[in-house]
Structure formats: structure tokens, C-alpha cells
Amino acid sequence: MQTLQPTLRLGRDVWDSVAMPVEEFQGRVIALRAGMKDRGLDALMLYGNSLDECGYPTYLSNYTTKLPFGALVLLTKEGAPVLMFQGSTRGQSAAKATTWFKDVRACWDIAATCCEALAEKNLLTSAIGLAGLPQLMPYEAWNTLSAAMKGAKLVDAHSMIDTLRAVKSDREISRIRRARQMIHDALGTLGGVSFRAENETTVAARLMHDVRRQGAEDVRVLIAKPGEPGWAFRPVEDAPLRDGETVAVHMAASWERYWAEAARTYLITGDSFEGLGTPELDLRFETVAKNLRTGRPISDYMECAMREMESANAVLMQQYGFGHGIGVTANEWPKISPESPHRDVVVENRMCFSIQLAFTDLRNRLVIRGETVAVDSGD
């Protein structure tokens, strides 16, 4: 789900090279180079921008953007890949501490720096696959870069990387589960605990504090009050939480680059949060979610899910869809919704998804539940 990006990804920034060794990334390089060979590409340019759209360079380098600026990975058929990121040279050593890349270049003009790298490697007139480009790059930078590459053959390579990113390794699933556990632990602190003199802001601060102390890199919180007409998820405000209100909390957090999301709904009773989940609602959620099975296209899942939802008294929140892929970014390919352009994508083992559904409970209250699941991995 779309959330408000912070001005800085200010949490723990560590590369655990035991848990996520260089071999993991080298395996991705091998896979991408095989794809490049199939497509006749001499190089790949993987671009990311801001804190939400940095997935392509992060996936290969493990470097993640901390500020709303860009990063670019240049991968050639052989030789060391290059990481370029917008930032000061003083930030170079911190960047190098979190990537296995040796060639790391801090710059402010990423287009010019990329042009230099392409020229160094004699690629300005080559066949180059692009991911994140030109879609995510500010137009002035793209004008500079595309002018320098006017003799090159530029090929859209999104699908090659999206499909590789979508199927997770054991290590990746482990990171996602860790992020998920942090969120569950934090949300679990809300139920049944008394919060005097709290409001939306302080409750969100409490949740964020909980996951930060567990080492979350990034954390987002949205709130919704489904009892209100025309309700929608939104960032928290300096607003009270009132007795009798139903409040849904959507939380997303990342652990060592990997994201998870979850949503829970609570009833404010006095100055406490009473969780509106029940074992029966959990079962209904799982009944719908488990239709996400290997070998079936997303459209197939959607149709089964809609049928199950009718019998489970569940409601599709049209504006948010069912969910989406999740990994090194919180929101990634493929998207699961009736209008999704990814309807024909076949679900594969070890794909990870964030799913959200709403149910009406016995008192006709809308109860929103969200979870992150790994397909056919025991989740």
C-alpha cells in the first residue's frame, strides 16, 4: 500500500554478510547475465529513485537509498558492476559498508557520472537493457543520459528483473519473515493495553519505536477509521482516539532491506485498544489467502478469492486491491487487483505477497486484516 515516505530512511543500516552473503548477489548477477545473453544485451542499467522506488539497484548491490535521491547500477557482460548514488563523497564509506560492490561512486549529477562510466566501458553505442529508466529518473537527468546514449540500442528490461525479484530465496524469505515478526510484535502491543493521554501521533510513535528498537531500517504507519463515511487510510494526525471508534492500523517495516506489511483493526474502548480479530476471522482470511497457489495465474486467484470472500462475508477494498508483491521494496510486481495489468502472471513458489482484506464481523463492523505471505513456504 502507498505510504508517506520519510525524509530519511533513518533506521539501522547494516549488511549482514553471513545472513546475506556475496554468493547470493553473485547468483543474481549470473542470472541477469544469462538474461542479457538471451536478449543480446551488452549491459544493464538498473535505476532507482526515492525511498520507495530503489528496488532495482538495491536488489543487485544491497545498497539502499536513504534520501529521496537516485542510485544506479551498471552491470556489464563481464567485470565488476558499478554503483552510482546521489550523495556526498563523505557518504561513500558508509555506502561501501553495505554493498559487496567495489566500484562505488558518490555524485550529485548521476546522469553525468553514468555517462562517464558508460564511456569508460565503451558502452555508449551498445545494446543496453533498462530497468527503472526512464520511468523513475527526473526528466532533466534523463535528457542528459539519453542524449549521450543516442547511438545505443535501449531495451526495456523490467520484466527480466521483475520476474527474478519476485521469486525469493530462502535468505530473502527469512528477512521478510523477520520484518513480519517485528510488525506483529509491535501491533500485538496495542491490544488490551491502556493508553492514557495518547492520540494517533503518539500511538504511531510507540509502534515505530518498537520496531526501530528491533532494528527496523524503515517503518511506515497509516491509520483508517472504517466507521467513518468515505474512510481511507492516511498518515496519522494530531487527533484523538475516541471511545467506540474502530481504528485500522496498517504498518510496514523493513529488516535488512526486506519489507513486510500487516494490518489490524481495533475497537477503542475507554483508553484501550481491543483487537477486533478473532480466530474465526483469521480462518476466513486464510481461506481466501490460500487460494494464492503455485501454478495458477493471478486472475484465477482473483476469481476464486472473490467467490470465497462472498461466502466468508469478506469485502474487497476496491481502492486498495487485494495486494501486491513485496521484497526489497514494499510494493512490487505483480499487483493483485481486478484491474491489474498482471492478471496473466502465474504465481510461483516462493513469491511473496502483501495481502489485505476486509471482513464484516458479527456486529457488522468492517475489520481490516493484512498479512505478508510467502507462497507454498508454510506461511
Partner: protein, 368 residues
């Protein structure tokens, strides 16, 4: 000042057909938040814009579509449209408002290529950041109150920084406590960089490192509220502060004091950096006042404008103007001590600089 009336005046004065104020949903410490300033609303999705005609009609377009309700509630703009197809929505808005000729674009630095192409299909696009910068030059009483509110939050953040810079605390735990304290005090976001160790080389994101006796802990403590940043730069020594450390911090304090005295409306903003560099240079550290060690001696902070500059150095051309908010920070790498942090944020006045924080600027020492 009526923002819309003034924007319309500037649009017409500039011979533009209309104005588009764009945001990609990010808040950047080195940029103004033009759309948040103009619309009174912090956008969330990847593409958002206010479109203004020569006659003063305005449409606010936000992504994703479900965020329109929040935009309607928070913004003064009446015509709010949620969309999941921003390119088409923008073209329709420009056509619907009858905008012809050149369109001014504020916030174009963050606009991706595809969106720019969609707008350029309607006519020539000209940079127009200056329109919003001009609007933001005059601060209202409400904006000044926000500045002071955020300054108070920064003090709360410093107190947490001071309290939790202790033996055994991990860097990321320190940042967690600082963020928590500032959010509870009213910050809706934070920009916190720290470093700990006997000899720091830069401020950065926190790691797993546990602080220990003999560490120098440095931090940029920067809460944000409705797009307004305020920054403190502080240093805490854990255990006894060595005579060298105290002497070098005194040097930074001298540079800071001299720079602050030079801050007044009408002076070139470069005076901050040149004053600091001169004092440190005379002490034998001229080499360390240049990249790769240092360059920036401060920043302008504001919602609609970061004048006199996102980064303040010896080349900053613009003058300091009344009611600008600037951080003066002689943060400096010194070979004897490593990087030390010292900085405060000020409101520029006609007669001098008004200090915004109340916690004392000095080297802090925590017992081990």
C-alpha cells in the same frame, strides 16, 4: 498574503499560460516542498500537482486516488481530484482550465520523464520554482509559530540524544529513542544522522555498534513538521573529555560564535562559511575546510523556499533576508579528534540572528 492571488499575479507578470506545482511525494532536506507549501497538504503518492490558471482557477491532483479525501480535508483548494493515471489527469486539467501557451513548472527537479512529456504535449514548459520561492519569501505569523514549535521539538530530540548516548546503547537504539521523543513532541518526521567512536569521519545512518567509554557521539538532530526542518548539531563525549577534544571543540565554538555574529539580513549568505573557514584556517585547518572533508557550513530551511540556499558555502551568492531560517554548523573533521558536530538554527533578523533552540551549545560529557 493571499498565496493564490500572488501566484496569479506572478503567472501573469511572467507571461505564462498557467502554473503547475509538482511533487513526487517526497520531502527532501535539500529542497523546498513547493506543493506542500502552496496547497497546505503533504502529498503521499508518486505524482501530485496543483494546476493554476491565469485567472486563478486551481485544481489539485493527487495519487493514489484514495488519498483525495485527505487532500480535500487538508487543502484550501476546492477542486481536488484523485487519480491512478496522473499523466491523463494532468492533461485533462490543463485543457479543462483553458491553459494555453507556456506553462510554468515549480518542482520540476523531481518530475520523472514520462510526466514531463505528458505536460509538454500541452505546450512549452518553463521553470517556475521562483514563483513559489517568491511567495515563500514573506513568512506569516503561523509560519513563524511553526518554526518555533519545531525548534522546541529539536530541543526534545537533543535531550534524548544526550540521555541515551551511554555505554552499552547501540547506535540504532539511540536513534530510536531520539525519533520517539521527537514524534511524541509533535514531529511528523525526522532527519537523524549520527556516528559514535573514538574518531568519527562522517555522520551517517546508525549501525549495530554499541557505544563505549571513550566514544565521541555526534549527531544531526532534525525534526520536521509540515515540511519545516530545524536542525541542531551536537557532540557528546562518553567518559572523560580529553584536553585535546575540549580545546578543539572550543575552536569550533569560536568559529560558530563568529559566524552567528555575522548573520543579519542583507549580508551575503556566504559570510557564514567564509567566517568559519577563516577561523579554522588560521588555526591551521585550511586543508580540512575543503572537500573531501567539508564544504557545507549550513542550510536554509523552509517549506516553500530554502533560500538563501539548500547548502551554504563560501560560494553561496544570495543574501540573507529577514525571517529566513538557517542552520549555522561548523561541523568539522579535525585530524586530532575526528569529526565534531556543532550547530544551531537561527531566524535571520534585521539586527542579527535569533537563536531558536534553548538547549545550550557546548561539548557535552556523559559519565561512562
Amino acid at each position: 498574503m493571499n498565496k493564490l492571488a500572488e501566484a496569479v499575479r506572478l503567472i501573469n507578470e511572467g507571461g505564462l499560460g498557467g502554473l503547475l506545482v509538482y511533487s513526487n511525494g517526497t520531502v527532501n532536506i535539500l529542497r523546498a516542498s513547493y506543493l506542500e507549501y502552496f496547497a497546505g497538504f503533504a502529498p503521499m503518492g508518486p505524482n501530485n500537482a496543483a494546476v493554476v490558471s491565469r485567472g486563478g482557477e486551481v485544481i489539485l491532483i493527487v495519487e493514489p486516488a484514495w488519498d483525495a479525501r485527505r487532500a480535500k480535508r487538508l487543502s484550501w483548494i476546492g477542486d481536488v481530484r484523485g487519480t491512478d493515471d496522473f499523466g491523463n489527469a494532468i492533461e485533462r486539467a490543463i485543457r479543462g482550465l483553458g491553459i494555453h501557451g507556456s506553462i510554468g513548472l515549480a518542482g520540476g527537479a523531481e518530475m520523472p520523464h514520462g510526466i514531463y512529456a505528458a505536460i509538454a504535449a500541452s505546450g512549452p514548459v518553463l521553470p517556475a520554482d521562483e514563483i513559489i520561492d517568491t511567495l515563500a519569501r514573506t513568512k506569516t505569523a503561523e509560519e513563524l509559530a511553526l518554526v518555533r514549535k519545531v525548534a522546541a521539538i529539536a530541543d526534545v530530540g537533543f535531550e534524548a540524544f544526550h540521555r541515551f548516548s551511554r555505554v552499552g546503547v547501540r547506535e540504532y537504539e539511540l536513534v530510536a529513542e531520539m525519533e520517539y521523543a521527537m514524534r511524541c513532541a509533535g514531529a511528523d518526521d525526522n532527519f537523524i544522522l549520527i556516528s559514535s567512536g573514538p574518531h568519527n569521519t562522517a555522520m551517517r545512518n546508525p549501525t549495530d555498534r554499541r557505544m563505549t567509554e571513550g566514544d565521541i557521539v555526534i549527531g544531526e538532530i532534525t525534526p520536521v513538521c509540515r515540511g519545516q526542518f530545524i536542525q541542531l548539531c551536537r557532540t557528546v563525549a562518553i567518559g572523560e573529555a580529553s584536553p585535546v577534544l575540549m580545546a578543539k571543540y572550543d575552536l569550533l565554538m569560536d568559529a560558530w560564535n563568529a559566524a552567528v555574529k555575522s548573520v543579519r539580513a542583507g549580508e551575503p549568505a556566504s559570510i557564514i562559511a567564509s567566517t568559519i573557514d577563516e577561523i579554522l584556517g588560521r588555526a591551521g585547518y585550511a586543508k580540512y575546510c575543503q572537500p573531501p572533508y567539508m564544504r557545507t557550513r549550513g542550510h536554509g530551511f523552509g517549506v516553500g523556499s530554502v533560500a538563501p540556499g539548500a547548502t551554504l558555502d563560501a560560494e553561496t551568492k544570495l543574501p540573507l533576508l529577514e525571517n529566513q531560517v538557517v542552520v549555522v554548523h561548523p561541523n568539522q573533521y579535525l585530524p586530532e579528534t575526528g569529526y565534531l558536530a556543532c550547530g544551531e538554527t537561527y531566524l535571520v533578523g534585521v539586527d542579527g540572528a535569533e537563536r531558536l533552540s534553548r538547549t545550550e551549545t557546548r561539548l557535552y560529557v556523559n559519565e561512562a
